[in-house]
């Protein structure tokens, strides 16, 4: 069987709840600990197939640093049988992993540019690796901005890390909530309002967007209104990925397979499809 289709047995090294419904699993390959193998390298934006033995397999973006050579982190929301089973795993237990798969964020295109990363809800997880990578090459990027929209205060992902980024000078972080109580002193409103508020140099901006599809569509529209060309915008799509190598066809999206050609697409490649409800 092709190695791409055969899960490797990995071990949970750490488990933490990020929000009431979302958790992060740090996974390590036992062989790496004994120096027999190296961790499967990944590029920011790629995903793994996580297999809970006897339950099933789900595609999950890798949300840790690509420079972490001891473990890969996956941030997961409890939404179905497999993700509920993943939430029951404890450090020391095993799971199957295939990957990494798919296309990556085009960070090389950010050199000398203003990089604006827009994330909505759980969409912060697939862009966190690209934030780490951008911070690692910060001197080559003119400016680095993260615009993050979440539903409520309690659902802000990686809150401590966002706070530490906010207090630093390397990355500008702006957060807005859709719903807020009186205790929230930050912005309230949709994430597109954060884009609207940016003073962008349209010719020198690269935009990466990740979140629910409607949010990405409206965010891309807002960037277009600000003068960016579709070629300067990238989105990360999600479909029913099963084989992860473009064989099964479950994630076919027009002429594309999300698992193989995506999940990261240049916006002009999928712009018309995002408005086609039959796809």
């Amino acid at each position: 069987m092709s190695p791409a289709l055969l899960p490797e047995v990995w071990r949970i090294s750490d488990f933490r709840w990020e929000t009431p419904q979302t958790f992060s699993l740090s996974c390590e390959k036992p062989e790496v600990q004994t120096r027999v193998q190296t961790l499967n390298p990944f590029r920011p934006g790629q995903f793994n197939m996580l297999y809970v033995f006897g339950v099933g397999e789900v595609p999950i973006s890798i949300s840790g640093s690509p420079e972490n050579t001891s473990a890969q982190i996956h941030t997961i929301r409890k939404v179905g049988a497999v993700t509920n089973a993943l939430a029951e795993l404890k450090p020391g237990q095993s799971l199957g992993i295939r990957g990494p798969f798919g296309s990556a964020w085009p960070l090389h295109k950010a050199k000398g540019k203003d990089l604006v990363i827009v994330a909505g809800g759980l969409g912060l997880a697939p862009v966190r690796p690209v934030i780490y990578a951008a911070l690692a090459m910060r001197s080559e990027i003119r400016s680095l901005t993260l615009l993050y929209g979440a539903r409520q205060h309690a659902e802000i992902l990686y809150a401590d890390e966002l706070l530490s980024w906010q207090t630093g000078a390397e990355i500008a972080v702006h957060i807005t909530l859709d719903q807020a109580t009186q205790s929230w002193q930050g912005r309230v409103g949709v994430v597109t309002s954060l884009i609207q508020a940016q003073d962008l140099d349209a010719d020198r901006t690269l935009a990466l967007i990740c979140g629910p599809e409607i949010m990405m569509r409206y965010s891309a529209h807002t960037f277009l209104e600000k003068g960016l060309k579709p070629e300067q915008i990238y989105v990360s799509l999600e479909r029913n990925m099963q084989c992860a190598v473009g064989f099964c066809g479950h994630c076919q999206y027009g002429p594309h397979f999300i698992c193989k050609d995506g999940p990261v697409f240049r916006y002009d490649k999928v712009q018309s499809l995002l408005n086609t409800r039959e796809v």
Partner: protein, 153 residues
């Protein structure tokens, strides 16, 4: 204190407004400082002004006896606040409260409307810009209603 044209041009809908119309706006404006927690206006009050935020943050809120004040949106530097002065019953439908010390240009709506009555071209251009802002706020509200960060995408 003299109000500069740039103070109004920082509002993106007004940045291309012809200078004579900017001057007309300036004639009706004064700069006011609101301390944190000050109300800019309150639900049910007479809508006799509109506002352009120069600095600070203003929250749009609605009071419900069951839930207290519910924050709908926050507005920031360069944002326009208030359109109830344009349409009957000329009353505020929400509370607007400064969340921090905020410098806000306050426009006398009655005085400005009187100028628009004598210059319909200006009235039309201003109306269009407020219309654009209202469309954007309506679309944003619809997106919020979709609750797209929830499980039901």
């Amino acid at each position: 204190m003299e109000i500069k044209e740039d103070a109004i041009r920082k509002q993106r809908h007004f940045k291309d407004l012809p200078t004579p119309y900017l001057q007309a706006l300036i004639r009706c404006a004064h700069l006011q400082t609101f301390a944190a927690h000050d109300f800019v206006f309150k639900l049910g009050g007479k809508a006799e002004a509109f506002y352009l935020i120069q600095s600070g943050t203003v929250a749009i809120e609605m009071f419900s006896s069951q839930r207290g004040s519910v924050r709908i949106q926050t507005l920031h530097e360069g944002d326009l606040l208030g359109w109830s002065w344009l349409y009957p019953p000329y009353k505020w439908h929400f509370d607007a409260q400064a969340l921090e010390e905020s410098q806000i240009l306050v426009f006398d709506a009655k005085a400005f409307l009187e100028q628009c009555e004598t210059d319909h071209e200006m009235g039309y251009l201003i109306q269009r810009r407020f219309g654009q802002m209202m469309v954007e706020r309506l679309q944003a509200t619809r997106l919020q209603l979709l609750d797209f960060y929830g499980d039901q995408k």
